[in-house]
Every structure is written in structure tokens, then in C-alpha cells.
């Protein structure tokens, strides 16, 4: 018998009575506020930032001001130019040269300040979201969902994307004597640009 069949047979012989453990209905609990204020508060707790426009600012001028030393600015959106387009990057490894990646997220979660990205937004170059030093995420207030329950119930992406990441602020670690460090191995900063 294969290990698969042995494991399944042992589980069948050993399991507790299924009738005694019914599946509860899908949970829909907690705060249903999907407002921008809640999202921004949550984002700030996890170390994310808002790229605030000044008078007359475009996304390009705001990025130039926020990242004055950036040489390679990669765009994954049609309405922003950058110095290189994501389509021009040929391998997952090549994305490592990126200083700033600009990408549009299909939705955010107010409870957590999380934004979602999949291969659909990253032109199948998933590594770009993690090898870049900084990420700027374009997000629309209309695409906020209240919490984790509403996100998993409402968003079709969880059922269609092969790769789907919820990023909640930049990468972080507290593995050396409990000191919180933002910018561990992935992005050093994550900024939201409201559209």
C-alpha cells in the first residue's frame, strides 16, 4: 500500500465520530467599518505609510520627492512611466535591481491595513514585489473591504490567482533581542497612493 493509502486508512480508523463535530456556518464577526480612516490607522500600526500628495503633485513628483536617490523605478501600471516597465524584466532574479516598484492593488482590508497583489498585477513576475527595495501601491478607497471575513467571502481573487499575497506594511523582524526592525528581507518600505 502507498503511504497515501496507509495514511488515509489510519485516519479513517482513528478519527473521532464525524457526527459529533459538525461544521459551523461561515463566520462573519467584528467591526464592519470599511472606511479609509480605519485602513490608514491599521496600516500605520504595521509600519506602512501614506504617500501624501502636495499641491500640484502627480504620482511621479511625489515619488521623486519621497525617493530622491532611486535610480530604477519599475512600473507595473499603464498610467505611470517609471524608468523601466515590468514587462521589460526578463527573469525573477533581474527584479533585484529595482529601487521602487509601482503597482496597483485590486483591494485593501481596513481591519489590517493590508493590500492584495497577485500575478495579475505583477505581470507574472511575483518576485518583483519582494526584491524591490521599496513598493508604492496605488489603491482606491472604493476597493476597501471591512475585515478578513468580508475579504475571503467577497473577493474572487482568492479562488482564481495562483499567487496571492496580502502585504501589511513592509517586511519586519524582531528576531534579534526583540528589537523591531522594519525592512527585514523584503521591501524596506510600503507606501499607499490613494487614487
Amino acid at each position: 500500500m502507498s503511504s497515501r493509502d496507509t495514511i488515509l486508512a489510519t485516519l479513517r480508523a482513528n478519527r473521532p465520530d464525524p457526527a459529533a463535530h459538525p461544521l459551523p456556518p461561515v463566520a462573519m464577526l467584528g467591526d464592519m467599518d470599511k472606511g479609509r480612516d480605519r485602513f490608514e490607522n491599521s496600516l500605520q500600526i504595521l509600519g506602512g505609510q501614506i504617500l501624501m500628495p502636495q499641491e500640484g503633485d502627480t504620482l511621479a513628483t511625489a515619488i521623486a520627492r519621497r525617493f530622491p536617490d532611486a535610480k530604477v523605478i519599475c512600473s507595473a501600471v499603464p498610467d505611470f512611466e517609471g524608468t523601466i516597465r515590468i514587462e521589460e524584466i526578463e527573469s525573477p532574479q533581474q527584479a533585484a535591481a529595482t529601487d521602487v516598484l509601482v503597482v496597483r492593488s485590486p483591494f485593501g482590508i481596513a481591519e489590517m491595513g493590508s493590500i492584495y497583489l497577485s500575478e495579475a498585477q505583477l505581470n507574472n513576475l511575483n518576485s518583483a514585489a519582494h526584491l524591490t527595495q521599496h513598493i508604492v501601491v496605488i489603491l482606491s478607497e472604493e476597493n476597501l473591504t471591512a475585515n478578513m471575513h468580508t475579504a475571503y467571502l467577497e473577493r474572487p481573487e482568492f479562488h482564481t490567482a495562483n499567487y496571492g499575497v496580502l502585504m501589511s506594511g513592509p517586511s519586519a523582524t524582531a528576531d534579534i533581542q526583540g528589537v523591531l526592525i522594519r525592512g527585514a528581507q523584503g521591501v524596506r518600505s510600503l507606501s499607499i497612493w490613494w487614487e
Binding site: I7, R15, L23, M112, Y163, S168
Partner: protein, 464 residues
């Protein structure tokens, strides 16, 4: 040769001797517990979430074979190769064969307790595969050749100078570097080239979703996403108990996991893998390694509900003051003490005694495992299986006799007053009396309650 039980008490004693490490360890873990409490108080639905999580897990475990088959069918449909491993040896062989087929010599991986269970690095390294842990804490432990001492924060027992020394030796950084920021940066700079040239990537996983064939990885450093998206070969290893039935069930667990673990609302990265990336290949190894047998243990099967948050470790006074390494096992703390004996009853026979029975572990568990009750039940099982150490067995035996006979008990208790105040220290504080280590025995009472009652009340009661 008969395997020797882990001497947890002795290892803990060594840990206790180092005051700076002990103090930091104790306070850091308690701080995590307090941050968890703050998050809990922000959510009025917290107890509902715990109940729901527990019910979903119990339902899933009772229907595990069907959900595993459903998961496998959906994952395969999405192009994932699904493997089954009965034990650690089979797991390692499967991973080794996948790597060999691809000629992969360099493997980058994120943290996975299952690969620790299987001792995978020790299997792959002699076969010419360089395995690099990319999680900072796990990497520190790999370079120091130690097991993770905590399931969420693997190097929590180390201080900055310890890390500086390890990095100086391996990364040629300043051995006196006292800045965690620059040490973390050293890890980032050292890891990047390895990540960019790796042949294969490996991750663990927190959840499997039967409905979609998805697996979910929750991390903070971004290293799991780098390990899975940069190389074109991704292998994921998960225990078979990690299932949830529906995508929507993840809402309950993601809301509980990081709040319980670190007191942060969510991990920085919550990644859903449903199939290989373009041009890539994806494998998943479903590991049993004793889990299917544990499901049949009437008193202990609910330990399979565990989502590995570590909250029980952070709150446990014994764990905080003995350190994870003192458990001598892959899983430490209260959850370790109830699952380790299922791997090796004799070797881990001492661990269920590493508890004060305060029940705090049970109270913080996000999936409501009755951890302290299982600790108690393990003690009974181990006594029945004659796995108690000599002193403990004899003391229990004597105590049993004493407490079973009221007259004998009273005589003995009256005697303790005389004994504690008159006996020389070496009689009271020696290896037969572990309570005399690191603490003074209580002051003897002038009079026992029983003799006081006899003197003051019994006569009056009779007179009425």
C-alpha cells in the same frame, strides 16, 4: 540501548544560572503575552473567534481523510505535484529526489517546524545540497547549530552580543557590533546573493484549504515570498492536520494567529499559493509523522488543532524560566510537552512534568486546546507505563500511602514542624528534594489546621 529521558530540570538549571539571558527571556515573552492581551481586548468577538476556530478544527480532524482527498484533487487540478510522507525519512527522500531531478544544489528555505521534525538539513547536506535558512532567527540557530528554541521566535534565548559573535564568525562582521539594526542588515546583505542564485526554494505553511487546493504561508520578514518566487522550483512541506475546509474559514484563523503569537494584528505577509507561478514548478509534501496515530488517542487528539502560534509558550512560567532548548525536543513549551511524548514516550517522559498546572496555556490557546488537562493526563499515562523517574515515583508512592491514611498523614505533618526547624540543611536540601533547589522551603507552621480545629472548635461543636 534504551533511550534516556530528556533531563529538562537539569538543562533548566543551567539556563537559570545566567541572569541576563534569563531576565531578558522572561520579560520578552511576557511582553508578547501582554501585547496579545491588548489585541484580545480590542476585539469583543475574541471568544467567539476561539470557539469558531476550535469547532472548525475539530470538524476538520473528524473528516480529515475526505478533506485531504479534496485538497489533493484541487491542488493537482491547479498543477501542484502532491506527495505523501508517512514519516520524516520518507519526507526527506521525497525532497531529495525532487532536488536531484532538477540538479538543484542550493536550497533556500523559510521556517518550517515540520522540516525540523524530519531533521531534513542533516539528510540533504551530505547529499551535496546546501540548505540556507532565510528567516533571521532560524538562520542564527542554523549557524549556531541549535534547534529553534521557540516555534515563532527561534532565537529568543539569545542576546545581541550572541548574534554579533555568530555573525562575525560567519559573515565577517564586527564581533562587537551592538546594534540589532545593523546586524539585521548584515543578514539581508548576506542572504540576497544566496537567494538570487538558489536552484530551489522551500517553505512551510500554516494552512491548507480543501475547497481550493490552496496553502497559506504567514510570515513577517518577506523571506518566504522570496524563497518561493525567485527560484522556479518551490517545494512546500506541511503537516496533514493543517487543513481548513473553506477559503472563508481562513478569516477566523488569520485574525487569531498573529494576535495570539506576537500581539500584532496580522503577519506582514499572508501568502496564498494555489498553483505554480508562470514557468515554475510547485510541489507539496503532506507529512504524517505520527499525526494519524495521534488522531486515535482519545485524550490527546485535540492537540492536532494547534496552529503553532506559541501563545502557550509565552505565557508559561516554566517555559519562560527554562528556555526552549531545555526541552531537548523540536517542540518546546506546553504544546511541546503534550505532543513530544507521542513521538517518543520514554525520551520525552519528563516534559509533561514541566508545568505548574496553572492552566494559563489553555486560557490563551486560540483553538481552545485543553493543554494543562492533557499535561495532567500524560502524567497519568506515563505513570501507568512506568516512565516516571525513580525519585518522582517513590515520592508519589510514599505520598499516596500517606494521604490515604489520615492518622499517618497527621503524624507526618506534625513531624514536619520539628523536621524543618531542626534538621541540618544537607538533609533538607539535596537531590531527593527538588523543591529545595533555588528556593527556601516554607517556614514551618506553629500548629496545623487539624490540631487547631481539635483544640478550639471540636469541643465547642460537641458541647452544642
Amino acid at each position: 540501548m534504551k533511550v534516556k529521558p530528556v533531563n529538562h530540570a537539569k538543562a533548566a538549571e543551567e539556563f537559570l544560572e545566567d541572569a541576563p539571558h534569563l531576565t531578558f527571556h522572561d520579560e520578552r515573552l511576557w511582553d508578547m503575552r501582554q501585547k496579545r492581551d491588548q489585541q484580545m481586548h480590542l476585539l469583543p468577538e475574541w471568544q467567539d473567534l476561539r470557539t469558531r476556530a476550535s469547532e472548525i478544527k475539530e470538524h476538520t480532524l473528524a473528516n480529515l481523510p475526505e478533506y485531504l482527498e479534496q485538497f489533493e484533487a484541487n491542488a493537482k487540478k491547479n498543477g501542484i505535484h502532491v506527495h505523501w510522507a508517512a514519516d520524516g525519512a520518507e519526507h526527506n527522500r521525497i525532497v531529495g529526489e525532487i532536488l536531484e531531478k532538477h540538479g538543484a544544489k542550493s536550497l533556500i528555505k523559510s521556517k518550517s517546524m515540520v522540516t525540523e521534525e524530519c531533521d531534513m538539513r542533516a539528510y540533504l547536506e551530505p547529499r551535496g545540497v546546501t540548505v540556507t535558512e532565510t528567516d533571521l532567527g532560524e538562520r542564527i540557530q542554523q549557524l549556531d547549530d541549535q534547534l529553534p528554541s521557540h516555534i515563532v521566535v527561534p532565537a529568543v534565548h539569545k542576546l545581541v552580543p550572541d548574534v554579533a559573535k555568530i555573525f562575525a564568525k560567519n559573515y565577517h562582521t564586527d564581533p562587537n557590533d551592538n546594534d540589532p539594526q545593523s546586524l539585521a542588515e548584515a543578514q539581508r546583505m548576506a542572504a540576497r546573493p544566496v537567494i538570487l542564485t538558489a536552484d530551489a526554494g522551500m517553505t512551510g505553511g500554516n494552512f491548507l484549504v480543501a475547497e481550493t487546493g490552496t496553502f497559506v504561508v504567514c510570515t513577517n520578514e518577506g523571506n518566504a515570498d522570496l524563497s518561493s518566487t525567485v527560484p522556479n522550483l518551490h517545494i512546500a512541506t506541511l503537516g496533514i492536520e493543517r487543513l481548513v475546509p473553506r477559503m472563508a474559514d481562513l478569516g477566523v484563523f488569520v485574525r487569531l494567529l498573529s494576535r495570539s503569537a506576537l500581539g500584532s494584528p496580522i503577519t506582514q505577509y499572508t501568502t496564498h499559493f494555489r498553483g505554480p507561478q508562470k514557468g515554475g514548478e510547485m510541489h507539496i509534501v503532506l507529512v504524517d509523522n505520527g499525526r494519524s496515530t495521534r488522531l486515535g488517542m482519545e485524550e490527546f487528539w485535540t492537540s492536532l488543532k494547534c496552529i503553532r502560534c506559541g501563545a502557550c509558550m509565552n505565557t508559561c512560567p516554566v517555559y519562560r524560566r527554562s528556555g526552549g532548548l531545555s526541552y531537548g525536543a523540536v517542540y518546546s513549551g506546553p504544546i511541546g510537552a503534550i505532543i513530544d511524548p507521542t513521538f517518543n514516550e520514554r525520551k520525552y517522559s519528563t516534559l509533561p512534568f514541566a508545568s505548574t498546572m496553572n492552566g494559563s496555556c489553555t486560557n490563551v490557546c486560540p483553538v481552545k486546546i485543553n493543554i494543562h488537562e492533557q499535561l495532567y493526563k500524560w502524567r497519568r499515562v506515563l505513570a501507568e507505563h512506568h516512565e516516571l523517574p525513580f525519585v518522582k515515583r517513590e515520592i508519589m508512592h510514599m505520598a499516596g500511602k500517606l494521604m490515604g491514611q489520615p492518622k499517618l498523614y497527621r503524624t507526618a505533618i506534625n513531624g514536619t514542624e520539628v523536621a524543618l526547624s531542626t534538621m541540618p540543611r544537607f538533609v533538607l536540601y539535596n537531590w531527593l528534594n527538588p523543591w529545595g533547589k533555588h528556593r527556601e522551603l516554607p517556614h514551618p507552621v506553629k500548629q496545623t489546621f487539624h490540631s487547631w480545629y481539635k483544640q478550639n472548635r471540636l469541643k465547642k461543636d460537641k458541647a452544642q
